[in-house]
Structures are given as C-alpha cells and as structure tokens.
C-alpha cells in the first residue's frame, strides 16, 4: 500500500480487446509501468500503439479486460468515483464548450466537481491568468485561436486541483508557436502543487523535451521505459548521417561505409545513409575517406548523439515514422 501512495500511477498487465470475432483488435497486450508522484511521465508511441486506450483505462472511461491499475493510490476498477475526483483529464479531441465563454466553461467544470461559487471564481481567475487567457475570458471561445482553446482544455482539467493530470496528445494540431507555449505551460505544472502529469504523444521531441521519464509503447506493449537519457544512453554511441547528392548511389555508399572500422549498423533511405558508430568523432574521417575513395558526391555529413528515434528503432524494430504512418492507416481503415 505504501508503494502505491508514493507512486501516482501504477499499471500492471493491462489488456484490452475491442470488437468480436474477425473484427477483434487487441489494443493492449499487457501494459505495465509506474509513475512517481510529482513528475511528468510520457507515453510515447505511434498512432494506434495503445496510448489512448491506456489513458482511457486509467481515467475510468474504459475498463481493462485483465490487469490492475492504481491512480493516486486508488484502484481504478474498484473505486472509479474516487479516481475521478483525484484526476484531471484532457482528451485528445477538443473538450471545451465552443458556445460558452472561458468563464462559463470553467464555472460549469467547477460545479461538476462540487466547488463553491467563491472557489470557482478564484480558481478560474487564477487559471485564466496563468494561461494568459484573462483578456479573452469573457468572449465566446468559438472566436479564440487554436492555441488558446487548447490551453482552456488544460485549464478545465485543473479546476478542481487534481493530483494527477492526464494529457492525451496535448499539442497535436497546434502550430509551432502554440506548441512551444504549451510546452512551457506543461513544464510548469509539476512545479506547483506537486502535480503528476501523464502525457501521451507521438512526437519524439515532445517526449524528449517534457518527460522526466517515459515508456515507449508499440503494438499494445511497453517496449522500453526509463528517463530519455537512460534510454538513449543504452544505445552507447553516435549516429553518423550522410546526405548524398543523389539517391541512386545509396547502395554503393552503404557498402563503402559498412567496410569502415568501428561502424555497426548502416541503414539507407533515399539520399540519407545512417550509420551507428561507437565514437562519432573518431570514426568520421574513416567514413569520409571511404566515400571519397568510392567517388560518391555528398551534400552534407552530420554526427549526432542518439535520438529517441534511434531508441524506438532498436526496441520496436521499425522506424517511428513508418510505424506512425502504418498506425494512422489502420486507424483510418
């Protein structure tokens, strides 16, 4: 029990199957992870990986077929009402009421959670101020920008001062400026009130930027978990990326690079050839010499520390973009 109170979220062996017979889809296939209190935890995965289903189970919208989950120390299956009072949930789709003003949106949400009129007024003013929405608060939200509307969605999830906030794809569909804004708001959430944030995302850089810890989800399972640094550190080594002047020669380039001492895996995709190497700086001269000897013209060469994309590739066995596109097609079909 003391374990589950220190952990804001504890999920073990969650499974969920939708549909029946031939149409059956196994959305979750044994999801296990835990989130310490007061941290931002990222569930990273391509479309259709099972992130939203996991969040639906943790927020009591759906029930798991098997497995158990505790949120704020409360069993989601046995005491759904208790969980609902302890959490805030910002769904993937916009959840503000476009026919009401900012104030009215927050007031209804406060009333649902049983706040008094005075509390609602004070808390709404505080949230509107904090998210920079105070000037527009009296205007109909239909007229607000997309970034402002999304911030209101997050504010709605915070009205009742939850212990755990769930953000399902908080920045999908936002322009770069609005996304950067949202990132700084989310980063600040754990500073105040010791809030725990679970966010799902299919943006690698978002998880890297925001999450203290993360779990990579693929095909209904957690394939890797840890801090972004740990996950990248496990890959030990760097990536040398060569951009060719023309894609036709990528086979030759690949063969030339593979022959260089210190190079591990090489992958080629159009004009890009990527090589995993032990030490980028030490291996680069050899790579360049080999390409020069093979008379292959280059557009650019970069050495990079491992990214979450590399982490994903290693654990899921396919590149993140390929998985994301495949997932999007499945979802659409």
């Amino acid at each position: 029990m003391s374990e589950s109170t220190r952990l804001a979220i504890e999920a073990s062996g969650l499974t969920k199957t939708y549909g029946k017979g031939a149409k059956q889809v196994r959305a979750l296939d044994g999801v296990t992870f835990s989130v310490p209190s007061g941290t931002v935890f990222g569930l990273l995965g391509p479309n259709g990986a099972g992130k939203s289903t996991t969040v639906k189970i943790l927020t009591t919208l759906a029930t798991a077929d098997e497995g158990r989950a505790f949120v704020a120390g409360i069993d989601v299956a046995r005491n759904a009402a208790g969980v609902r009072n302890a959490i805030g949930y910002v769904p993937q789709k916009p959840c503000f009421d476009p026919t009401a003003t900012g104030w009215e949106n927050l007031a209804l949400q406060g009333n649902i959670y049983g706040l008094s009129g005075r509390e609602i007024k004070a808390r709404s003013a505080e949230l509107l101020e904090r998210f920079g929405l105070a000037d527009s608060a009296g205007r109909n939200t239909k007229t607000w920008s997309g970034g402002m509307q999304r911030k209101l969605d997050v504010a709605l999830g915070l009205v009742h001062r939850p212990q755990v906030l769930f953000l399902d794809e908080p920045t999908t569909g936002l322009d770069p400026q609005a996304r950067a804004d949202m990132w700084s708001e989310i980063a600040e959430l754990t500073q105040s009130d010791g809030l725990t944030v679970l966010l799902t995302t299919h943006y690698l850089e978002e998880a890297d930027h925001l999450a203290g810890r993360l779990a990579i989800v693929d095909r209904g399972r957690v394939v890797a978990a840890g801090t972004p640094e740990q996950l990248k550190g496990e890959l030990a080594g760097d990536t040398v990326q060569v951009e060719l002047a023309e894609p036709a020669v990528n086979g030759h380039a690949r063969a030339a690079i593979e022959a260089v001492v210190g190079v591990k895996d090489v992958s080629a995709d159009g004009v890009l050839v990527r090589a995993r190497v032990g030490n980028g700086a030490a291996t680069l001269p050899g790579v360049l010499a080999a390409l020069d000897a093979a008379q292959i013209p280059l557009a650019s060469v970069t050495v990079a520390r491992p990214s979450l994309d590399d982490v994903y590739l290693r654990h899921a066995g396919r590149s993140f973009h390929a998985a994301d596109e495949a997932g999007t097609k499945e979802v659409a079909a």
Binding site: L61, P91, K93, I112
Partner: protein, 258 residues
C-alpha cells in the same frame, strides 16, 4: 440525489444559454408551427362545417395540435447535442469527472421542457390573436403545457437514446423522418376524432401524440371530462418515465463501448 439535481440543472443551464445567445434558433423552430397556424388553418377553415367538430373555429381546433406537434418535432432533435459532445472530447471529459451520468441526459430533457413551454405559449398567443377562443381558464392552459412538456420529454429521451446507440446525426434524422409524420397523421391532431377512419381511430389510441392532443383539447373546454384528461396525461407520464429509463440504459451501453 441532490447531486443529480445540481448537475442536471447546471447542464440544463449550459444548453439554455445557447438559446439565450442565439434567439434566432428559437425563431427557426417556430417557422413550421406558424405555417400550420397561419396557412393550413386558413386553407382548411371550412372543414369544421363537417358534423363532428362541434361549434368551433378551425384555428381554435388546430392550435392545441400545433402545440403538441411542435413539442414532438423539436424534441426529436434533442440527441444532436449529445452527438456533438461525443464527436468532440466533451463527453469524455464528463465521463472522467464525477458528474452523475443521468444528469447528462436530464440536462437535455430539462432544456427541452423549458423550450417547449416557451414555444407553446408563443403558438397559443398567435392562435388567440387569430381569433381562437377557449372557455377554459388557467387550468386548461396548464394542462396543455403539461401535455406538451411530457410529449417533448418522451421524444427527447428517445432521441438521446438513439444518439447514444448510433452516434451519428444522419441516423437521428432518419429515425425521426420515419416517425414524425405517421404519428401526426395517425391522430386527431388535424381532424376531429369522430371523423377519423376506424382504423386510424384505433391506431390513435396507442399514439402518444394523440394522447397529448386529446388531453389538451378536452382541458380547454368549458366543462372538461377530467377523467379523460387525467387518463391521457397519466399515459404520457408513464411513457415519459419508460423513455427516460431507456435513455439511461442507452447511456450505459455507450459507456461500455468506449
């Protein structure tokens, strides 16, 4: 129990606010009843000369029917706001909150009841301005409003149940097209009971639209048969309870499928 009432009223206020912000919406819902009242009643003005109508003008005969018809027609669309909420993340936000589940549908039913009262009074006012006269007092009008509200609740609950089970606006439109006019014509809304063909007269006995029309017209007479009025209103109330229960069941089915 008090939480249910509080949540229901907050959600009803949310819905009513839309009406208050965009009164033009209310005006749209009154176009059809005005056509019936201003044009249809004139076109068929002399139909009351047939034996069976009694000593009454057709406007006076038709007005309670138009009130009932308007209540049914508008309540049929009640589920569309649920479909909107499901399409957006609003429903998910509610479901992850401690909001009482029945309050989500109750909020819509309460809103529909309030709209029906306003519409009915407007239709009644126009009918009076057109020369319709009734011997009954305030009690008669209260019965007309009660019958219209109960019918609105019946159809709004049905519409909500359909919305929760089928989740598309198209399905709602389809169902409603299928129901509304047959129910209207299988009743004494437009034609005196005594003049209905036997089979329609028999069918009307099972038609909630006819229950509401019969109760309303009877209550507006100088000395109504209160047994008849009470019986029809009781039937409407019973069906309203059944339909509300059905919408609650549909809600549970929706939640299981999330």
């Amino acid at each position: 129990m008090t939480t249910v009432v509080t949540h229901s009223s907050h959600l009803a206020v949310r819905n009513l606010r839309i009406l208050y912000r965009q009164p033009v919406y209310l005006a749209f819902t009154l176009v059809q009843p005005m056509v019936w009242l201003l044009l249809f009643s004139q076109l068929f003005e002399r139909v009351v000369e047939l034996p069976g109508f009694g000593d009454v003008s057709y406007v006076a005969y038709l007005a309670p029917g138009v009130i009932v018809m308007t209540a049914m027609m508008n309540a049929g669309w009640a589920g569309t706001s649920l479909v909107d909420d499901m399409d957006r993340g609003v429903m998910d936000r509610y479901l992850a909150s401690p909001v009482r589940r029945v309050a989500i549908v109750n909020g819509i039913l309460a809103y529909q009841a309030a709209v029906t009262v306003v519409q009915s009074l407007i239709v009644f006012g126009v009918a009076l301005a057109m020369g319709a006269r009734y011997e009954a007092g305030a009690v008669g009008i209260v019965v007309v409003l009660a019958a219209a509200v109960l019918l609105a609740v019946i159809f709004a609950a049905l519409s909500c149940a359909a919305a929760l089970l089928m989740r598309t606006q198209d399905a709602l439109i389809g169902i409603f097209q299928f129901l509304a006019f047959p129910l209207l014509f299988l009743s004494s809304t437009l034609m005196a009971s005594a003049l209905l063909p036997d089979w329609i007269g028999s069918a009307a006995k099972f038609n909630p639209v006819d229950w509401a029309v019969v109760a309303s017209r009877e209550a507006l007479l100088s000395s109504p048969d209160w047994g008849l009025v009470g019986g029809r209103v009781a039937l409407l109330a019973a069906l309203a309870i059944v339909m509300t229960g059905l919408s609650a069941r549909a809600f549970r089915a929706y939640q299981r499928s999330v």
